[in-house]
Protein backbone atom coordinates (compact mmCIF):
# COMPACT_ATOMS: atom_id res chain seq x y z
CA UNK A 1 0.00 0.00 0.00
CA UNK A 2 1.40 3.36 -0.95
CA UNK A 3 2.06 6.11 1.56
CA UNK A 4 -0.82 8.36 0.45
CA UNK A 5 -3.20 5.41 0.78
CA UNK A 6 -1.83 4.56 4.23
CA UNK A 7 -2.20 8.21 5.24
CA UNK A 8 -5.78 8.26 3.98
CA UNK A 9 -6.50 5.10 5.97
CA UNK A 10 -4.92 6.69 9.05
CA UNK A 11 -7.06 9.81 8.76
CA UNK A 12 -10.28 7.89 8.15
CA UNK A 13 -9.64 5.34 10.90
CA UNK A 14 -12.43 5.92 13.47
CA UNK A 15 -9.92 5.18 16.25
CA UNK A 16 -8.15 8.42 15.35
CA UNK A 17 -11.33 10.46 15.77
CA UNK A 18 -11.82 9.86 19.50
CA UNK A 19 -9.99 10.05 22.81
CA UNK A 20 -7.31 12.44 24.06
CA UNK A 21 -5.10 11.84 21.02
CA UNK A 22 -7.99 11.99 18.54
CA UNK A 23 -8.14 14.50 15.72
CA UNK A 24 -11.06 16.53 17.22
CA UNK A 25 -9.21 16.88 20.54
CA UNK A 26 -5.92 17.89 18.93
CA UNK A 27 -7.64 20.30 16.54
CA UNK A 28 -9.58 21.79 19.46
CA UNK A 29 -6.36 22.27 21.44
CA UNK A 30 -4.67 24.03 18.56
CA UNK A 31 -7.64 26.32 17.88
CA UNK A 32 -8.10 27.03 21.59
CA UNK A 33 -4.43 27.98 22.10
CA UNK A 34 -4.52 30.16 19.00
CA UNK A 35 -7.74 31.98 19.92
CA UNK A 36 -6.46 32.64 23.41
CA UNK A 37 -3.16 34.03 22.12
CA UNK A 38 -4.70 36.20 19.39
CA UNK A 39 -7.25 37.57 21.89
CA UNK A 40 -4.58 38.46 24.45
CA UNK A 41 -2.38 39.86 21.68
CA UNK A 42 -5.25 42.00 20.37
CA UNK A 43 -5.98 43.37 23.85
CA UNK A 44 -2.35 44.48 24.08
CA UNK A 45 -1.67 45.52 20.50
CA UNK A 46 -4.82 47.24 19.26
CA UNK A 47 -5.07 49.96 21.96
CA UNK A 48 -1.36 50.73 21.52
CA UNK A 49 -1.54 50.89 17.73
CA UNK A 50 -4.82 52.83 17.68
CA UNK A 51 -3.70 55.44 20.22
CA UNK A 52 -0.28 55.90 18.58
CA UNK A 53 -1.91 56.15 15.15
CA UNK A 54 -4.59 58.57 16.33
CA UNK A 55 -2.08 61.00 17.78
CA UNK A 56 0.45 60.30 15.05
CA UNK A 57 3.21 60.05 17.61
CA UNK A 58 5.98 57.52 18.10
CA UNK A 59 5.50 56.17 14.60
CA UNK A 60 9.03 54.81 14.60
CA UNK A 61 8.28 52.95 17.80
CA UNK A 62 5.24 51.26 16.27
CA UNK A 63 7.16 50.27 13.15
CA UNK A 64 10.22 49.15 15.11
CA UNK A 65 8.15 46.91 17.36
CA UNK A 66 7.19 45.07 14.22
CA UNK A 67 10.72 44.98 12.82
CA UNK A 68 12.25 43.65 16.02
CA UNK A 69 9.31 41.31 16.52
CA UNK A 70 9.78 39.59 13.21
CA UNK A 71 13.45 38.88 13.96
CA UNK A 72 12.66 37.08 17.22
CA UNK A 73 12.57 33.30 16.63
CA UNK A 74 9.31 31.90 18.06
CA UNK A 75 11.01 28.58 18.68
CA UNK A 76 13.57 30.27 20.97
CA UNK A 77 10.96 32.27 22.88
CA UNK A 78 8.85 29.13 23.25
CA UNK A 79 11.68 27.11 24.77
CA UNK A 80 12.82 29.97 27.03
CA UNK A 81 9.24 30.36 28.31
CA UNK A 82 9.11 26.59 28.82
CA UNK A 83 12.26 26.75 30.97
CA UNK A 84 10.65 29.46 33.09
CA UNK A 85 7.06 28.21 33.38
CA UNK A 86 7.40 24.47 32.79
CA UNK A 87 4.71 22.18 31.43
CA UNK A 88 1.33 23.62 30.50
CA UNK A 89 -0.25 26.13 28.18
CA UNK A 90 1.54 29.20 29.57
CA UNK A 91 4.78 28.97 27.54
CA UNK A 92 3.02 28.45 24.23
CA UNK A 93 0.52 31.25 24.91
CA UNK A 94 3.42 33.58 25.75
CA UNK A 95 5.32 32.69 22.58
CA UNK A 96 2.21 32.96 20.40
CA UNK A 97 1.11 36.24 21.97
CA UNK A 98 4.57 37.68 21.33
CA UNK A 99 4.11 36.58 17.73
CA UNK A 100 0.60 38.04 17.43
CA UNK A 101 1.37 41.53 18.74
CA UNK A 102 3.69 43.08 16.10
CA UNK A 103 1.49 42.82 12.98
CA UNK A 104 -1.53 44.10 14.91
CA UNK A 105 0.37 47.09 16.34
CA UNK A 106 1.78 48.04 12.94
CA UNK A 107 -1.46 47.57 11.03
CA UNK A 108 -3.64 49.43 13.50
CA UNK A 109 -1.09 52.24 13.65
CA UNK A 110 -0.96 52.54 9.87
CA UNK A 111 -4.76 52.21 9.66
CA UNK A 112 -5.32 55.23 11.91
CA UNK A 113 -2.54 57.23 10.27
CA UNK A 114 -4.07 56.71 6.84
CA UNK A 115 -7.43 58.20 7.73
CA UNK A 116 -7.83 61.14 5.37
CA UNK A 117 -6.98 64.40 7.21
CA UNK A 118 -9.86 66.11 5.36
CA UNK A 119 -12.26 63.63 6.90
CA UNK A 120 -10.90 64.40 10.36
CA UNK A 121 -11.21 68.12 9.65
CA UNK A 122 -14.78 67.65 8.52
CA UNK A 123 -15.60 65.64 11.65
CA UNK A 124 -14.10 68.36 13.81
CA UNK A 125 -16.07 70.99 11.90
CA UNK A 126 -19.29 69.04 12.46
CA UNK A 127 -18.66 69.33 16.17
CA UNK A 128 -17.28 65.89 17.02
CA UNK A 129 -15.19 65.85 20.16
CA UNK A 130 -11.99 63.87 20.22
CA UNK A 131 -13.25 60.55 21.59
CA UNK A 132 -16.46 60.35 19.51
CA UNK A 133 -14.42 61.33 16.47
CA UNK A 134 -11.98 58.49 17.13
CA UNK A 135 -14.73 55.94 17.82
CA UNK A 136 -17.29 56.94 15.20
CA UNK A 137 -15.25 58.40 12.36
CA UNK A 138 -11.65 57.20 12.43
CA UNK A 139 -12.10 53.65 13.70
CA UNK A 140 -14.74 52.62 11.15
CA UNK A 141 -12.48 53.88 8.37
CA UNK A 142 -9.57 51.97 9.87
CA UNK A 143 -11.41 48.65 10.15
CA UNK A 144 -10.16 47.07 6.90
CA UNK A 145 -6.47 47.50 7.74
CA UNK A 146 -6.95 46.58 11.40
CA UNK A 147 -8.73 43.41 10.31
CA UNK A 148 -5.88 42.69 7.91
CA UNK A 149 -3.46 42.86 10.84
CA UNK A 150 -5.60 40.51 12.93
CA UNK A 151 -5.77 38.12 10.00
CA UNK A 152 -1.99 38.16 9.50
CA UNK A 153 -1.45 37.51 13.20
CA UNK A 154 -4.06 34.78 13.41
CA UNK A 155 -2.72 32.83 10.45
CA UNK A 156 0.82 32.97 11.84
CA UNK A 157 -0.35 32.01 15.30
CA UNK A 158 -2.38 29.02 14.12
CA UNK A 159 0.63 27.85 12.12
CA UNK A 160 3.10 28.33 14.95
CA UNK A 161 0.86 26.68 17.56
CA UNK A 162 2.09 23.47 15.92
CA UNK A 163 5.37 23.97 17.80
CA UNK A 164 3.58 23.37 21.13
CA UNK A 165 4.16 19.67 20.60
CA UNK A 166 7.91 20.26 20.86
CA UNK A 167 7.52 21.26 24.51
CA UNK A 168 5.25 18.31 25.29
CA UNK A 169 2.09 20.29 24.62
CA UNK A 170 -0.97 19.31 22.61
CA UNK A 171 -2.30 20.42 19.27
CA UNK A 172 -1.95 18.95 15.81
CA UNK A 173 1.84 19.20 16.04
CA UNK A 174 1.61 16.13 18.30
CA UNK A 175 1.10 13.93 15.21
CA UNK A 176 4.11 15.46 13.47
CA UNK A 177 6.44 15.18 16.46
CA UNK A 178 5.23 11.68 17.40
CA UNK A 179 5.24 10.57 13.77
CA UNK A 180 8.87 11.65 13.48
CA UNK A 181 9.86 10.03 16.76
CA UNK A 182 8.19 6.72 15.89
CA UNK A 183 9.09 6.81 12.19
CA UNK A 184 5.33 6.55 11.64
CA UNK A 185 5.01 8.20 8.24
CA UNK A 186 1.20 8.02 7.86
CA UNK A 187 0.81 9.78 11.22
CA UNK A 188 3.46 12.35 10.23
CA UNK A 189 1.80 13.05 6.88
CA UNK A 190 -1.69 13.18 8.37
CA UNK A 191 -0.48 15.73 10.93
CA UNK A 192 1.18 17.82 8.24
CA UNK A 193 -1.95 17.80 6.07
CA UNK A 194 -4.21 18.69 8.98
CA UNK A 195 -1.97 21.61 9.98
CA UNK A 196 -1.77 22.84 6.39
CA UNK A 197 -5.55 22.57 6.01
CA UNK A 198 -6.14 24.44 9.25
CA UNK A 199 -3.80 27.27 8.22
CA UNK A 200 -5.44 27.60 4.80
CA UNK A 201 -8.93 27.46 6.34
CA UNK A 202 -8.02 30.18 8.84
CA UNK A 203 -6.71 32.40 6.08
CA UNK A 204 -9.83 31.96 3.93
CA UNK A 205 -12.22 32.33 6.86
CA UNK A 206 -10.62 35.55 8.06
CA UNK A 207 -10.39 36.93 4.53
CA UNK A 208 -14.15 36.37 4.27
CA UNK A 209 -14.75 37.90 7.69
CA UNK A 210 -12.66 40.90 6.69
CA UNK A 211 -14.98 41.52 3.74
CA UNK A 212 -18.11 41.16 5.88
CA UNK A 213 -16.86 43.49 8.62
CA UNK A 214 -16.09 46.38 6.30
CA UNK A 215 -18.54 49.15 7.22
CA UNK A 216 -21.14 49.56 4.48
CA UNK A 217 -20.32 53.23 4.06
CA UNK A 218 -16.77 52.63 2.93
CA UNK A 219 -17.35 49.39 1.05
CA UNK A 220 -18.55 51.47 -1.89
CA UNK A 221 -15.40 53.53 -2.27
CA UNK A 222 -12.98 50.83 -1.35
CA UNK A 223 -9.50 50.39 -2.67
CA UNK A 224 -8.25 46.88 -3.55
CA UNK A 225 -9.36 44.28 -1.03
CA UNK A 226 -7.16 42.20 1.18
CA UNK A 227 -4.57 44.88 1.64
CA UNK A 228 -2.09 44.47 4.45
CA UNK A 229 0.49 46.85 5.78
CA UNK A 230 2.99 44.28 6.93
CA UNK A 231 2.92 40.58 6.30
CA UNK A 232 5.72 38.36 7.26
CA UNK A 233 6.12 34.67 7.57
CA UNK A 234 7.64 33.57 10.82
CA UNK A 235 6.76 29.91 11.12
Amino acid sequence: MSLPQETWRWVTDPAHWQGIDGIPTRLGEQVHLSLESVAIGALIALPVGIVLGHYGRFGNLAINISNVGRAVPSFGILVIAFQVFGLGDVPIVIALTALAVPPMVTNSYVALREVDPDVKDAARGMGYRELPQLLRVELPLAVPLIMAGIRTSAVQVVATATLAALIAGGGLGRYIVDGLARSDNPRLLAGALLVAALALATELLLAGLQQVLIPRGIRLLRAPSGQRAATLKVA
Binding site: F75, Q83, A159, G191, A192, A196
Partner: protein, 225 residues
Protein backbone atom coordinates in the same frame (compact mmCIF):
# COMPACT_ATOMS: atom_id res chain seq x y z
CA UNK B 1 30.71 25.99 53.17
CA UNK B 2 31.23 24.59 49.73
CA UNK B 3 29.49 26.90 47.36
CA UNK B 4 29.22 24.12 44.76
CA UNK B 5 26.46 21.66 45.62
CA UNK B 6 26.64 18.14 44.23
CA UNK B 7 23.64 18.74 42.03
CA UNK B 8 23.80 22.37 41.15
CA UNK B 9 20.12 22.89 40.33
CA UNK B 10 20.41 26.61 39.67
CA UNK B 11 21.25 26.88 36.01
CA UNK B 12 22.22 30.46 35.15
CA UNK B 13 20.77 31.95 31.96
CA UNK B 14 24.26 32.13 30.52
CA UNK B 15 27.07 29.93 31.77
CA UNK B 16 30.09 31.87 30.58
CA UNK B 17 32.49 28.98 31.30
CA UNK B 18 30.56 26.72 28.97
CA UNK B 19 30.30 29.44 26.38
CA UNK B 20 34.02 30.24 26.42
CA UNK B 21 34.90 26.60 25.75
CA UNK B 22 32.21 26.12 23.10
CA UNK B 23 32.83 29.08 20.82
CA UNK B 24 33.80 26.91 17.80
CA UNK B 25 30.60 24.88 18.32
CA UNK B 26 28.48 28.04 18.36
CA UNK B 27 30.26 29.47 15.34
CA UNK B 28 29.69 26.25 13.39
CA UNK B 29 25.97 26.59 14.13
CA UNK B 30 26.01 30.22 12.98
CA UNK B 31 27.76 29.16 9.81
CA UNK B 32 25.21 26.44 9.09
CA UNK B 33 22.44 28.95 9.77
CA UNK B 34 23.93 31.43 7.31
CA UNK B 35 24.48 28.80 4.62
CA UNK B 36 20.86 27.58 4.86
CA UNK B 37 19.65 31.19 4.73
CA UNK B 38 21.87 32.09 1.77
CA UNK B 39 20.71 29.09 -0.28
CA UNK B 40 17.07 29.92 0.45
CA UNK B 41 17.53 33.55 -0.63
CA UNK B 42 19.55 32.73 -3.75
CA UNK B 43 17.09 30.02 -4.75
CA UNK B 44 14.17 32.36 -4.16
CA UNK B 45 15.73 35.08 -6.31
CA UNK B 46 16.66 32.68 -9.13
CA UNK B 47 13.04 31.54 -9.38
CA UNK B 48 11.24 34.77 -8.54
CA UNK B 49 13.03 37.13 -10.93
CA UNK B 50 12.26 35.22 -14.16
CA UNK B 51 8.75 34.43 -12.91
CA UNK B 52 8.04 38.07 -12.12
CA UNK B 53 9.49 39.26 -15.41
CA UNK B 54 7.59 36.63 -17.40
CA UNK B 55 4.33 37.47 -15.61
CA UNK B 56 4.89 41.10 -16.51
CA UNK B 57 6.03 40.50 -20.08
CA UNK B 58 3.29 38.08 -21.18
CA UNK B 59 0.21 39.46 -19.46
CA UNK B 60 -2.00 37.48 -21.85
CA UNK B 61 -0.84 34.21 -20.19
CA UNK B 62 -2.42 35.25 -16.85
CA UNK B 63 0.71 34.05 -15.08
CA UNK B 64 0.34 36.71 -12.43
CA UNK B 65 -2.82 35.49 -10.67
CA UNK B 66 -1.68 31.88 -11.09
CA UNK B 67 1.73 32.49 -9.52
CA UNK B 68 0.36 34.64 -6.71
CA UNK B 69 -2.38 32.12 -5.88
CA UNK B 70 -0.18 29.02 -5.95
CA UNK B 71 2.69 30.50 -3.97
CA UNK B 72 0.26 32.37 -1.71
CA UNK B 73 -1.33 29.07 -0.70
CA UNK B 74 2.12 27.51 -0.26
CA UNK B 75 3.15 30.47 1.90
CA UNK B 76 0.19 29.91 4.22
CA UNK B 77 1.28 26.32 4.99
CA UNK B 78 3.42 26.24 8.13
CA UNK B 79 7.06 25.27 7.60
CA UNK B 80 6.92 22.43 10.11
CA UNK B 81 4.04 20.89 8.14
CA UNK B 82 5.95 21.18 4.86
CA UNK B 83 9.07 19.64 6.37
CA UNK B 84 6.94 16.78 7.65
CA UNK B 85 5.24 16.36 4.26
CA UNK B 86 8.59 16.14 2.49
CA UNK B 87 10.45 13.86 4.89
CA UNK B 88 9.00 10.59 3.51
CA UNK B 89 10.11 11.65 0.03
CA UNK B 90 13.28 13.72 0.39
CA UNK B 91 14.54 12.44 3.73
CA UNK B 92 16.17 14.41 6.53
CA UNK B 93 18.46 16.87 4.90
CA UNK B 94 19.15 20.15 3.22
CA UNK B 95 16.79 19.53 0.31
CA UNK B 96 13.84 19.03 2.67
CA UNK B 97 14.75 22.24 4.48
CA UNK B 98 15.28 24.32 1.36
CA UNK B 99 12.15 23.47 -0.65
CA UNK B 100 9.78 25.25 1.78
CA UNK B 101 12.24 28.07 2.50
CA UNK B 102 12.77 28.79 -1.19
CA UNK B 103 9.03 28.55 -1.88
CA UNK B 104 8.26 31.15 0.79
CA UNK B 105 10.90 33.50 -0.57
CA UNK B 106 9.56 33.13 -4.11
CA UNK B 107 6.22 34.57 -2.98
CA UNK B 108 7.78 37.49 -1.11
CA UNK B 109 10.14 38.31 -3.99
CA UNK B 110 7.72 37.80 -6.90
CA UNK B 111 5.23 40.09 -5.20
CA UNK B 112 7.87 42.78 -4.85
CA UNK B 113 9.24 42.32 -8.38
CA UNK B 114 5.71 42.90 -9.67
CA UNK B 115 5.08 45.87 -7.37
CA UNK B 116 8.38 47.36 -8.53
CA UNK B 117 7.64 46.84 -12.23
CA UNK B 118 4.08 48.18 -11.83
CA UNK B 119 5.44 51.35 -10.27
CA UNK B 120 7.59 52.31 -13.27
CA UNK B 121 6.10 55.64 -14.46
CA UNK B 122 4.30 55.39 -17.83
CA UNK B 123 6.26 58.45 -19.01
CA UNK B 124 9.51 56.54 -18.61
CA UNK B 125 8.11 53.66 -20.66
CA UNK B 126 6.93 56.11 -23.32
CA UNK B 127 10.34 57.73 -23.42
CA UNK B 128 12.08 54.37 -23.72
CA UNK B 129 9.73 53.38 -26.56
CA UNK B 130 10.43 56.70 -28.24
CA UNK B 131 14.15 56.06 -28.00
CA UNK B 132 13.62 52.81 -29.90
CA UNK B 133 13.88 50.24 -27.10
CA UNK B 134 12.32 46.90 -27.99
CA UNK B 135 10.04 45.37 -25.33
CA UNK B 136 12.65 42.97 -23.93
CA UNK B 137 15.44 45.50 -23.87
CA UNK B 138 13.15 48.06 -22.30
CA UNK B 139 12.12 45.58 -19.60
CA UNK B 140 15.67 44.53 -18.73
CA UNK B 141 17.51 47.81 -19.19
CA UNK B 142 14.91 50.35 -18.12
CA UNK B 143 12.09 48.84 -16.08
CA UNK B 144 14.04 46.30 -14.03
CA UNK B 145 16.60 48.79 -12.70
CA UNK B 146 13.74 51.09 -11.69
CA UNK B 147 12.10 48.17 -9.87
CA UNK B 148 15.25 47.44 -7.85
CA UNK B 149 14.25 49.41 -4.73
CA UNK B 150 11.06 47.32 -4.40
CA UNK B 151 13.01 44.13 -5.08
CA UNK B 152 15.51 45.02 -2.37
CA UNK B 153 12.67 45.73 0.04
CA UNK B 154 11.38 42.23 -0.64
CA UNK B 155 14.85 40.80 -0.18
CA UNK B 156 15.11 42.42 3.24
CA UNK B 157 11.80 40.93 4.34
CA UNK B 158 12.81 37.54 2.95
CA UNK B 159 16.18 37.67 4.71
CA UNK B 160 14.79 38.41 8.17
CA UNK B 161 11.98 35.92 7.75
CA UNK B 162 14.26 33.13 6.54
CA UNK B 163 16.69 33.55 9.44
CA UNK B 164 13.77 32.97 11.81
CA UNK B 165 12.30 29.97 10.01
CA UNK B 166 15.68 28.24 9.68
CA UNK B 167 15.59 27.63 13.46
CA UNK B 168 12.62 25.31 12.90
CA UNK B 169 14.66 23.07 10.61
CA UNK B 170 16.13 21.76 13.88
CA UNK B 171 13.13 19.44 13.83
CA UNK B 172 14.64 17.67 10.82
CA UNK B 173 18.14 17.54 12.23
CA UNK B 174 19.53 20.74 10.69
CA UNK B 175 18.74 24.14 11.98
CA UNK B 176 22.02 25.91 12.67
CA UNK B 177 21.12 27.93 15.74
CA UNK B 178 17.83 26.01 16.03
CA UNK B 179 19.93 22.97 16.91
CA UNK B 180 21.28 24.87 19.94
CA UNK B 181 17.74 25.80 20.96
CA UNK B 182 16.72 22.16 20.66
CA UNK B 183 19.71 21.09 22.74
CA UNK B 184 18.77 23.65 25.39
CA UNK B 185 15.29 22.14 25.41
CA UNK B 186 16.37 18.50 25.58
CA UNK B 187 19.05 19.02 28.22
CA UNK B 188 17.15 21.77 30.08
CA UNK B 189 20.37 23.74 29.74
CA UNK B 190 19.78 27.47 29.40
CA UNK B 191 23.03 28.67 27.87
CA UNK B 192 22.78 27.33 24.28
CA UNK B 193 19.10 28.29 24.22
CA UNK B 194 19.61 31.90 25.27
CA UNK B 195 22.77 32.34 23.20
CA UNK B 196 21.12 30.94 20.06
CA UNK B 197 17.98 33.07 20.44
CA UNK B 198 20.05 36.21 20.95
CA UNK B 199 22.35 35.34 18.02
CA UNK B 200 19.32 34.79 15.80
CA UNK B 201 18.06 38.29 16.50
CA UNK B 202 21.55 39.73 15.96
CA UNK B 203 21.98 37.81 12.68
CA UNK B 204 18.64 39.10 11.42
CA UNK B 205 19.60 42.64 12.39
CA UNK B 206 23.00 42.57 10.69
CA UNK B 207 21.79 40.68 7.62
CA UNK B 208 19.10 43.33 7.21
CA UNK B 209 21.75 46.06 7.47
CA UNK B 210 23.88 44.21 4.93
CA UNK B 211 21.06 44.01 2.37
CA UNK B 212 20.19 47.65 3.01
CA UNK B 213 23.87 48.47 2.42
CA UNK B 214 23.92 46.45 -0.79
CA UNK B 215 20.90 48.44 -1.94
CA UNK B 216 22.75 51.71 -1.34
CA UNK B 217 25.56 50.44 -3.55
CA UNK B 218 23.38 48.91 -6.27
CA UNK B 219 20.72 51.61 -6.39
CA UNK B 220 22.46 54.78 -5.30
CA UNK B 221 19.51 56.95 -6.26
CA UNK B 222 17.15 55.34 -3.79
CA UNK B 223 17.16 55.61 -0.04
CA UNK B 224 16.39 52.36 1.80
CA UNK B 225 13.18 52.79 3.75
Amino acid sequence: MGSRVFLDVVDPWINWDWLSTHIPYVLAAVQEHLVLTAIALAGGLVIALPLGIAARRWTNLHLRPAVLTVFGAFYTIPSIALFALLIPYTGLGTLTAEIPLIGYNVLILVRNVLVGLDAVPPDVIDAADGMGYRPWARLIQVELPLALPAIFAGLRVATVSTIGIVTITAVIGLGGLGQLILRGLIESFHTPLVVATALCILLAFFADLLVAGAQRVAVPWSRPA
